[in-house]
Symmetry: C2
Subunit: 724 residues, 2 copies
């Protein structure tokens, strides 16, 4: 026995030794964190054209740092040769000694080796890739944009440079030839479903809204081709008013398949050749962000299944280099829109990289001179998005990276408070809230104060996560003061609701849904106040109705929080079902059931101004996952979570909710629940006419016909119960 | 008479009409002010290599704004077609209406025309060129990096964007094909003066220190060529230790003249071919900044003439895209070094564009996180340089452009004060002062407080120039408080001098020259204090001597201000003459007469570390112009000025001092002065044994054997006097 043990030990230590000496670390391209994201977002956001004209954003576009220093220390158990590649001009220091030229191979001795590499690149992001057996680039390299290594007259370097180093940024550029600057989304061939001659041209239908690069096959001749895109047939055929078009100059004596260089969002294309230009057929290269297929929902309600599928496809189309608003128009990163994409993503692909990329791109660089996207509310959604991301992902590293940028943005906000400590729209501040007729932005709007309060709470939470006790105390105090102020200034005892605003120090009479519904799911109200808001605002026909899926998202969430899932289910069927009945293949920027015909297509005073594939239209993914499958984390990264299924009018539903470490699978009928989770400790809550039973555990009666069961990971549970 | 008058009037108005309708405005490329300068300084400062290795600065490199909006309104008397060119992707709006595509020709109607053009460019600076009869780009176009033109749901644009527009930046890119991004300094052919075989290679001598691109003529064969540059013969031949080298890979079966891509500073080149590589001879392309030949000095003292000529050549070599420190090493823009180049320039080429470019490049972009070049004193020289520039040039437009950037830099400085309101080196602050052995940077150094005080005074002056009364009052108050503090804390009554520093709230015992000499020409001292400083510091051998021409500049200036021109003249001859005797063809970074042989070449612990062509070595230009020819402005842009010639040991001297509007010419002997000025009103001051006489005016006796005469522009004065 002793001998055998010894032999085993030897084997283990040999394996360990082999690992540390020979295991090839997987290298990846690194950069200053956020810089690739800013650069890529510039590339993406400056790509849009409208009717052939370049159409950039109206806020400041930032740049990456053009000169960056990377370094890391290694303890090498044996000598090795490393390969160095950089995007940009670079130099290399080993243990403080500069090497000649720009070496692509460097021989290192065993022992302590400190590698410093400086990279300069104006055009694309300074990036670095080092590959060796032991020395490789990874997120633990340190990086700075000013090393301040000055020397004295004897050549001695300063010992007090005060330089701040941060961990390097990375993504998935894991081989030398996969350079960050060459990043492109993948494409695949898609065929049209219909093609018909109309007038001088051909109308091609791809069967559903889509995104990518058109290919004209066997194109030849000499002349121009007008290519008119449409999210609707009407738009494609209205060559004078459609939002997007390309004009292709053709000079092809020999026929050739030609793919356009501009990507567009469209279902229809009307192609009108001039001169003797001819082509055979039209296909497209569908461009997409590869996202793992994880979240899932299916039920006995076919309409709801279709709503979920179309929502999923809407999310697929608007999830690109970053989460964008719509595929036809803007194609920019809007913080308020992205905030909803993040939420949907947690119940769909759980693609944390795209969440982080988008948050970093939105923040941009110092100095902070305007709100994010110039919109006050969008600044606050940015704060909120960070804590949400932490709650779903448990990614503390990202909080550490982003926290300094949160602080400087909050500084900016704090400095814009008026003498009463409230925020009103100053010159340059867009107070957006929602697209709604006649919505007042005057004075101190309650909605902005509410989001500000919540953002201060978020600061305190993030400070706490990072153990920054002083910050935590300061932000907690500010948040508490602001919350008291918010309640004092805007709660109206008579109306039992929050008013819309305060003008010249006085409450206005106006009540709108926004503040009231957010206060619900922020949990700011006592039961009596909740009941007031529910009756006097959420369920009242006298308060102006919401016309955008954007704010419907929050309205329905508030109702779900109040236990109105049955009502919400029907509203979802009506509202999103209404778009489906009108032939929607993706969900829209705005939907007003009272409109008809081509009136549905117009917005911003333009006949086809409305985006028919808008990320904020996809919210059923989130609502179904969180309030019907009923799954949500109760501690960061699903270490603990709750499952509280709600069938509403469905006979059964099944689904999968992704987490950072595997999925939570659920099948629910009116008398049976099956659940299996790959991770965390769950708390299954069932409302049942009798105590539910399961071979896998015993339910606790928590009163009011509610029962709960602890769900251990990697175990299949089957439960009998009786739905109410 | 009446008829004639009428006819004349008609002619005038016809000419006026023709001017306004047909006169072709001269268009120029425009950009966001400072952005071209920042971009070009990145290009220049990242060009240096040391022994083949890329060697960038250690402070933050900024970027231009990548997305910029230009606009201007015109009142067109007739329709016209304009040509548009941009560096970058762009769009064009005319009277608020977007034009399709990226038009290079646009037809405009008569009447009011507002042109908005947005340009995006990541790699080089977004720049715009518009050419028409009436509509052309010039410095009066407005430009911003965020137009914040958001719209409401009806498509109406916001009326309160709060956007700040500034005047466009320009230089001399005055034709469509002269693009800013293609900027290069011109070159011309220069031949070597000697060539000799030494060992395996050939040593080529260009006769004096120079700058440019080496050409190897009739180069052929296969192999490498080692090219070892040297400011001295010793450096070129020491292939293992010289500071700069190139290795050229040759693969030329057919002989070819080959010019190297890297520019270098050198007098000697040692060229060592390997393999079967051969070449005929070596020449160079001398690269230079074209500067008008204006300032001039000549005298009966041949050594001083040579000092002036070599100073001029030193300035020529170090005046490049920007004023740099030296031609061999650094080749970066250092604020303290540039401050002296500006001063010399006012007595040489009066090249205001290069002064402005350098000031803008040094400032970089927000956020301000470190001192300029990381050096505290260099931040202060930057402030001082702006008022000096105004005093010499009278350029108020530049003050308007730079003032906001001065304010934010001063904010940064103010926030770094300690509890006593003083500045000490915090982490990341380099307290430089001078290259001097054992110079203490501990605690609150008096020199930094003095420069800080002067910078606050500069802020007040600039605020006043712009009519910013509130700022003026605030900065005047801060300056006055700081000046009192400076006098209280650092003047030592016993020593009758300023001490070097304050440590732990106590004056130190140490007295150095820096603070004392600056206080002289800042005019902070009463006559008794002046006398104390002169005796106990400036003329004392017990106070540590200055070894750099950099601080010699100020030391000699202080002595000149104290009327010690005779002494200074001799010191110049000794110090700069000393370098000449050692064969200097340009003046050095540091010169210690006590050293000998190759010890003169070393610095920073490296055998050839010292720069032998350093801009701060050229200060005799300034001293001779200001304190011997004795010309200086007394109001901005030489509207008024003073001429107070001082011959010292010269029998005669003559010279020319440039101003923004022509020159001031002077010829001085011991009994005759000739003067003619193109501009301004001068005050000629002569010390004479008897009252000077002139046919052009009468001298006023101002006592102490001093006489003065008012000098009108464009008039030749000949004066008889008797020099003392």
């Amino acid at each position: 026995m002793f001998l055998v043990m010894k032999k085993l030990l030897f084997s283990f230590s040999l394996i360990f030794l082999l690992n540390s000496v020979f295991a090839q670390q997987s290298p990846t391209w690194i950069w200053y964190p956020g810089d690739f994201e800013i650069w890529l977002s510039n590339e993406m956001q400056n790509r849009r054209t409208e009717r052939e004209t370049y159409f950039p954003p109206f806020w400041r576009m930032d740049s990456h740092y053009v000169l960056v220093e990377f370094h890391k220390e290694f303890e090498l158990s044996s000598p090795e040769e490393i390969t160095i590649a950089a995007e940009g001009k670079y130099n290399v220091k080993v243990n403080g000694k500069m090497l000649p030229g720009m070496p692509s191979k460097v021989a290192l001795n065993a022992g302590k080796q400190k590698i410093n590499i400086k990279v300069y690149n104006q055009q694309t992001v300074p990036a670095l890739f080092v590959e060796g057996k032991q020395v490789t680039t990874d997120k633990d390299w340190k990086v700075t944009f000013e090393d301040k290594e000055w020397i004295d007259e004897t050549g001695k370097a300063s010992s007090q440079s005060g330089t701040i180093y941060v961990n390097a940024g990375t993504w998935n550029f894991n081989s030398l030839d996969k350079k960050p600057s060459a990043f492109k989304l993948p494409t695949r061939l898609e065929q049209a479903v219909n093609s018909s001659k109309i007038g001088e041209g051909t109308l091609i239908d791809f069967g559903k809204n889509t995104f990518g690069f058109l290919t004209l096959h066997i194109l030849k001749g000499n002349g121009k081709v007008g290519i008119y895109y449409g999210e609707s047939k009407e738009e494609a055929l209205d060559t004078n008013h459609g939002e997007t078009l390309d004009v292709l100059n053709v000079n092809l004596p020999q026929a050739k398949d030609s793919t356009l260089v501009n990507s567009k969002g469209f279902q229809y294309v009307y192609v009108v050749p001039n001169g003797n230009v001819a082509f055979d057929k039209v296909s497209m290269q569908y461009e997409y962000l590869p996202v793992e297929d994880r979240g899932f929902f299916k039920s006995s309600d076919e309409q709801m299944n279709r709503i979920w599928e179309v929502s999923k496809y809407t999310m697929e189309l608007t999830s690109r280099e970053f989460y964008i608003d719509g595929i036809k128009r803007d194609r920019w990163i809007w913080s308020g829109d992205a905030y909803q994409s993040y939420a949907m993503n947690y119940y769909l692909g759980f693609d944390s990289e795209t969440v982080k990329r988008t948050i970093l791109a939105l923040r941009g660089k110092e100095p902070t001179m305007t709100h994010i996207n110039t919109i006050m509310d969008y600044t606050f959604y940015w704060f909120l998005s960070i804590y949400d991301y932490y709650q779903y992902s448990g990614d503390k590293e990202f909080i550490a990276l982003i926290y300094p940028r949160m602080k400087t943005l909050m500084d900016f906000v704090m400095k814009r408070r008026n003498k009463d400590g409230l925020l009103e729209g100053l010159a340059g501040d867009w107070v957006f809230i929602d697209w709604a007729e006649g919505l007042s932005k005057k004075g101190e709007v309650s909605f902005e104060q509410l989001l500000f309060t919540r953002s201060l709470e978020t600061m305190a939470l993030c400070a706490d996560i990072l153990g920054q006790q002083e910050d935590k105390a300061a932000f907690t105090k500010e948040a508490s003061l602001m919350r008291d102020k918010f309640m004092d200034y805007y709660w109206n005892q008579n109306k039992q609701a929050f008013v819309h605003s305060r003008v010249d120090g006085q409450q206005t009479d106006d009540v709108t849904r926004y503040t009231n519904m957010f206060a619900i799911f922020f949990d700011y109200l006592n039961p009596q106040q909740q009941a007031g808001v529910k009756k006097n605002v959420l369920l009242s026909d006298e308060v102006q109705k919401i016309m955008t899926p954007y704010m419907r998202f929050y309205e329905l969430e508030a109702l779900c929080v109040l236990g109105e899932q049955d009502e919400v289910f029907q509203q979802m069927k009506d509202y999103w079902g209404g778009m489906l009945q009108l032939g929607a293949t993706t969900f829209w920027e705005e939907y007003n059931p009272a409109k008809s015909g081509i009136d549905h297509l117009s917005m911003y005073g333009r006949p086809y101004g409305k985006s028919l594939c808008h990320s904020w239209g996809a919210s059923p993914i989130y609502l179904l996952g969180k309030y019907y499958l009923g799954v949500k984390p109760t501690s960061p990264g699903y270490q603990t979570y709750v499952v509280e299924p709600h069938l509403a009018s469905m006979n059964w539903m099944e689904g999968k909710v992704p987490t950072p470490n595997g999925d939570i699978n659920l099948h629910v009928t009116k008398n049976k629940v099956k659940i299996k989770a790959d991770t965390g400790v769950g708390n299954l809550k069932l409302k049942s006419k009798k105590r539910p039973t399961s071979k896998q555990g015993t339910f606790l009666d928590i009163g009011d016909q509610m029962y709960e069961l602890k769900i251990e990971p990697n175990r299949s549970y089957e439960i009998d119960y009786l739905a109410i």
